[in-house]
């Protein structure tokens, strides 16, 4: 009986936490169908009193939404694929090869995660400027190709793969690249899903770096475009909410398809040392 009561209490608590977490999103979604005066009205209602689609229809008044959306999608997918590949490769080398300085290199990789981004952003900006990569996707993709967090996660994950499988493949004549491509990569599906989701989300919502290095309007990314709704004296909340609601769909889709592997991957990386 006591167990039943505590289970109900726990569920109620979790439900409340869930509602608290989801409510701002639902409010934003509902507000995207309201006029600005209703969004800022003294008397607030969750559902629109006057349902309008203008915020979605007129989204392009501030910037070319579809263009920015596609730009974001392309850059995010490219960065995610590259990070997944490089993280798995580095993770494989650091976990399955024994060589001098391996721990030192891993320590160095970990240390990159501990330097705050605001410290590195100005030297990074100067470097990109001197390379002549400003206003080009090279500035967004190349510095993001390697992720300290991704390497750490994949090293932890690949460590759990039995060495015997790799040894067996070697005995059968497989070369190291073949082993990586055909054995390690497919067996790291859960870890890869976690990295892919994290990296997709981070790149998708990254604002400052794309804003600093991209000048041409047609090349700009969605996270930067969303900021255009904030004016000097006022904000077009309705249009901002509409654009934000649409912009999170790719992230939701990614999570929807990889959630099982994501949860398994996170759990595995957390317990394997």
């Amino acid at each position: 009986m006591r167990r039943k009561i505590s289970s109900i209490a726990l569920n109620i608590l979790l439900l409340m936490l869930g509602v608290i977490t989801v409510y701002p999103f639902v409010w934003m979604l509902c507000s995207s169908f309201k006029k600005n005066s209703e969004i800022m009205a003294l008397e607030q209602h969750l559902l629109p009193q006057e349902f309008i689609l203008d915020n979605y229809v007129n989204m392009n008044a501030h910037f070319n939404f579809l263009r920015f959306f596609i730009n974001s999608l392309v850059v995010t997918l490219v960065v995610t694929v590259l990070v997944v590949y490089t993280s798995t490769l580095c993770g494989f080398v650091l976990s399955k090869y024994k060589f001098k300085g391996r721990n030192l290199i891993f320590g160095f990789v970990l240390s990159t995660m501990m330097v705050p981004w605001c410290v590195t952003i100005i030297p990074k900006y100067s470097m990109i400027q001197s390379f002549g990569w400003m206003d080009s996707y090279k500035a967004l993709i190349i510095p993001a190709m390697f992720s300290g967090f991704g390497i750490f996660m994949m090293k932890q994950h690949i460590s759990s793969l039995p060495d015997e499988i790799l040894e067996a493949a070697r005995i059968d004549g497989a070369n190291e690249f073949y082993i990586f491509q055909r054995i390690v990569f497919p067996m790291s599906k859960n870890g890869i899903s976690s990295i892919a989701i994290f990296q997709f989300l981070w790149t998708w919502e990254d604002f400052l770096w794309p804003y600093l290095v991209i000048n041409t309007q047609e090349k700009q990314l969605l996270a930067v475009g969303l900021k255009m709704f904030n004016g000097q004296y006022s904000t077009d909340y309705g249009a901002l909410f509409a654009a934000t609601a649409i912009s999170i769909i790719p992230v939701l889709l990614i999570y929807l398809f990889f959630q099982k592997q994501f949860i398994a991957g996170i759990a595995a990386s957390a317990v394997k040392g």
Binding site: M40, M59, L66, L212, M228, Q232, Y233, I246, L253
Partner: protein, 458 residues
Amino acid sequence: MKKKMLAAMMAAVLAVTGLAGCGGSTEKKEAEEKTEAKADVPKEPFGDTIKYDLTVEINDGKDISIELWEWGSDDLFQQVIDGYTAIHPNVSIKLVNNPWEDYWTKLPLALDGEKGPAIFNIHNSYHENLINYLAPLDIPLEDLQADFTGVDAHVIDGNVYYIDYGMMTGSVYYNKKMWEEAGLTDEDIPKTWDEMREVAKKLTIKDGDKLIQAGLNFNDDFHQNYLLGLNYQLGENLFQEDGKTPNVNSDAMKQVMQMLVDMYETDGVGSKDFGEKGSDSFGQGQSAMVIQWGHFYNTLNTTWSDIDFGVFEIPTFDGEPYAYNRYNGESTFGVNKNAPADQQAVAQDFVKYFLANDDAQVAFNLAMSTFPAKKSLADNEKILENPSLKVLSEHIDHYIWPGPMPSTVETSLKKAGQDIFFNGVDIETALDEAQENIIKDMKNSSFESVENLYAYAK
């Protein structure tokens, strides 16, 4: 299956939005094309003292591209660019739009190298961050002074790096419906603060002790719209004679602060707890009057379009103020001194075109709800059609710009007011603390007030 359904639904939403977006994009493109096609090429030189000569070739007629960085309305800037490039087809100007807040992070970084924009939008609150990147304007000082007001305040060692194209200040916005319901007419528009307090009382509605409708609301912006401006009506500047020491604990400031306290606590025309922001409370139809700066006119027309409002000039204490209020300028473009010489030359020419072009000046001032600094536009028909500008036209020369004040002046006075209203601190102590705080914060500031350049300075 469920997952597939959900994914399909999301994809459909994306597709529909994409199509809607494409529609908007096409419309925008069409509008741009129309603007481009409409850009007339003037036949004669134009301008007042600053004349724009159409016959002077730019960059010896060779093709050249520059970038113009700005925040705000693309269309507004694009119209000026289209007009300019119609005269000089060899010049191409790429417009780079930025979000207001982050512009000030990106711009100094870009200006530090040689590849920054040749020309960019300025706001004088960022003066100290930008001045070292600016090239002086290539227009004689006397010409600028002849055509624009407030130029003297922008002279640094004989050079001018930017001036104001418009002046923004505070006026009283009132809800016409509430005004009528209170039995008030145009005859009741107050000229003095005593009259204003009486009108505010009539506009206040209470249910017992509970405030239902505030006659006047200055929550959250009293420091900007009252404390930093009404001192001038009483003949006191914000800075002492040396131009560096603040003067925020002056008798005038105490008198203004006391009036604000009395309005809420004695007259009961509003309350510190009635709406977080006075401006929002006005838009929400809860407050009958607010003092707001020009930008509020645009906010009312976009966000609060249901409110039927009127505007009148800020009241004074005795009808003959030293100055009516403080103003702040909307600045003209800056020219990047680190840009290649040929790009700088185009940028300088573009600034000249902008200053000489009355249509551009009117368009920019209307977009920002600022009163034109160009003297010849003071009685421009389109400008006077805007009620928030019309009310300023009679006494616009009686407004003072103190210079690009460091933000501590505003924040310290805001804190003083909050201490008085919320923490029971007495007026004298709160203003003394603000004075000390500003002195401490401005220790390393190069700011020097230009209040002494006011046309009617004592």
